[in-house]
């Protein structure tokens, strides 16, 4: 593909509550076996983008560990490769990334030294499949300066955490409003953009000169009348996981056969780091209903409408309902867990009871294990 890729994975927000204490949102485990960033990375790889930069800032340890080898997504070639850019102190700058545009400005060398004519910018917190070549075709056909991938939201309750757009009939964006308190619009930006590389460099340099640092506010919103900004409507599944509620809901969506078929069975695949766990084991007393179970799990109890990530141990007589149990958790015998998200590596004592009221309760417990 005639484009390089950039994944903005630096962000954090308060709406992930304790879940983001441990990791950047892009490193959140999703759908049993994956991390959130796998979706954008796999889409880039499957769109034949060969050179991809991941821009990280907030708590990148977990993310860096996940990206320690680029072979899982088929990068790491002689042409191109996977680059991870964390802020560093240089002769010119001793700032953290002050915004999305600033994070690009601080890595301008990557943009300048590439030769591909286009840049695909995506975020690390979207769960979707997309062939960016289709967006590029649309971008060229419309003779657009910037193309924004947008999604019409059925559920309006979440709209105020996105950028909303309105557009003309042929798709030109006329209005962009970032995280409005009130709006009657229902089409949101997915944070996926295509732009000519040279134009991006020009806009980023200009914004930096004016001490402006945010891509949406200082570039998209300011230039919407001067530059031709078009919207590409995404019709297929797309979900953003960056609140506890949407994270929970997105995971639970995978209990639908259609969603699973779309992501797990239909070509092309989503890739992730492979960790060589043995297959899941169901002992006597296990009773699993309508749930996802990942490799390395050992189940001795009841699991209903839940998602067990990798290497979970569920003790005897446990009941787990409507919950998400993240990697490497140990659930002691006779525990009852309902409507919870159990943090990775948690070790829950025998006879524990956790029930989330309303929105899912986040459980972190680290007890020493006595076998």
């Amino acid at each position: 593909m005639k484009a390089i890729g950039i994944i903005l994975a630096g962000g954090n927000n308060k709406m992930m509550k304790e879940l983001s204490n441990k990791r950047a949102i892009a490193a959140m485990p999703v759908a049993g076996s994956y991390r959130s960033i796998d979706f954008s990375l796999s889409n880039m790889s499957n769109s034949r983008i060969q050179k991809v930069a991941v821009i990280t800032q907030y708590n990148a340890r977990s993310l860096n560990e996940h990206l320690s080898s680029s072979k899982w997504w088929d990068f790491g070639r002689k042409q191109g490769g996977l680059f991870v850019f964390t802020p560093t102190i240089t002769a010119d700058s001793s700032y953290w990334y002050r915004g999305t545009a600033d994070s690009l400005y601080q890595n301008l060398h990557f943009l300048k030294s590439s030769h591909e004519p286009y840049v695909v910018i995506a975020s690390g917190d979207g769960v979707y499949k997309l062939d960016y070549n289709k967006v590029l075709e649309y971008h060229i056909e419309k003779k657009a300066d910037i193309t924004v991938v947008v999604k019409k939201m059925e559920d309006k309750s979440e709209i105020n955490r996105f950028g909303v757009v309105s557009m003309t009939e042929e798709g030109r964006i006329t209005e962009i409003d970032e995280k409005p308190l009130e709006t009657n619009l229902s089409t949101v930006s997915t944070g996926i953009y295509i732009i000519r590389r040279r134009l991006l460099i020009e806009l980023i340099e200009k914004a930096a000169e004016e001490d402006r640092h945010d891509f949406v506010r200082d570039i998209l919103m300011r230039y919407k009348n001067i530059k031709k900004i078009y919207a590409y409507k995404l019709e297929s599944y797309w979900s953003n996981i960056s609140t506890v509620e949407s994270y929970y809901k997105t995971n639970m969506d995978f209990l639908n056969r259609e969603v699973r078929d779309y992501f797990f069975n239909q070509y092309p695949e989503i890739y992730t780091k492979v960790d060589d766990s043995p297959p899941a084991k169901y002992n006597c007393g296990s009773d699993v209903k309508n749930s996802l179970v990942s490799s390395g799990c050992i189940v001795n109890g009841t699991v209903e409408n839940s998602i067990l990530f990798k290497k979970i141990y569920v003790g005897n007589n446990c009941v787990i309902k409507n919950s998400i149990i993240l990697n490497d958790a140990y659930i002691g015998d006779n525990s009852y867990i309902e409507n919870c998200i159990v943090e990775s590596g948690s070790t829950i004592k025998a006879n524990t009871r956790y029930v989330g009221e309303g929105s899912p309760m986040i459980v972190t417990e680290n007890n020493p294990l006595y076998y």
Partner: protein, 424 residues
Amino acid sequence: MIKKEMIAMLLAGGQGSRLGVLTSKVAKPAVAFGGKYRIIDFPLSNCINSGIDTVGVLTQYQPLRLNTHIGIGIPWDLDRNVGGVTVLPPYEKSTNSEWYTGTANAIYQNLEYMEQYNPDYVLILSGDHIYKMDYKIMLDYHKANNADITIAAMPVPIEEASRFGIVITDGDNRITEFEEKPANPRSNLASMGIYIFSWKVLRDALIKLKDQQECDFGKHVIPYCFEQNKRLFAYEYNGYWKDVGTLSSYWEANMELIDIIPVFNLYEEFWKIYTKTDAIPPQYVSADAYIEKSIIGDGSEIYGKVYNSVIGSGVVIEEGTVVRDSIIMQDTKVGKNTIINKAIIAEEVTIGDNVELGVGDEADNVFKPAIYNSGLVTIGECSVVPDGVKIGKNTAISGETTADDYENGMLVSGGVIIKAGDNV
């Protein structure tokens, strides 16, 4: 000059004809095992876990699956700048080209491969055993005894000893006698087919025996070295080791994995077994499903009921279906309201709706009674079983069968249906 202290030569060329239709299209080492693995993963993982990073894999019979699986050795960290894994098929020479005619002959034909690593020791392995073993400890033992050959051996029940090559040792574990499948065994120490040779001893023996027909380690090389008064030692191994060369031992070894705390435990962090991962997604268990005492591979979708079984990755078991005491390998699809009892079903098989497997009383197999016994139904890879048929015990099926192949909708116990002209 390149120098590797010990390299491994892994014999993976045999057909494994005692696995019947399971090996009609794949070599035995490439047969799936334990819901995720292939048999060859065990010796390969043992090698890398023991610090051996140079492994020659000798292939001959149906190597496609094996070649694809091994690739350049990435899953086992055997993609190396120097050494790593090398697949060694038989090749044409200017004169006397031949297939690998025996285990030792195969190694002899690859003397040049071994020579380029300038080894002190060569480890000979076979690709059909399930075990975890630290070859480094065996090498230390070899060195401590100043041995020429060390043979790994394990105690077996004396009544089974006549199935194995038996070693008889003195008080220092030096081998004083060697008997191949003796009628009246005088010891219960069975050779595991794992040898460490000091390189010069191996090289000289192979060259000396180069004209031996079907030159074999057990039959020719070991007896020859013995006659030459070489120092042969037995390394006694007491861990889990299973030869999965027959359908019943293959079935048993899989079933042992589902015990509450299996003797052979795949869930320990120490001494991991690596494999090429074909499926990434988690498995789904539906609201009507029930699973007990089973292991299930990644990406499978279970809508039916599964008891005491080992299910591979990417398998679909539809609603109303009951699977018991069976092994189902990856990417096989089982229809609705089907009953499967004590069956081994290979990869990419399609089983229709309302099928019954393993019905009726046992009867001797009409085709190969020595292979298809123990009451198992065995179905070869890529086979198709149509809707509504019944299949008895000690049976074998291979190929795309249709309702016409089943007399009165039934394959009676002991029957065989083999299509597509494959001679198995």
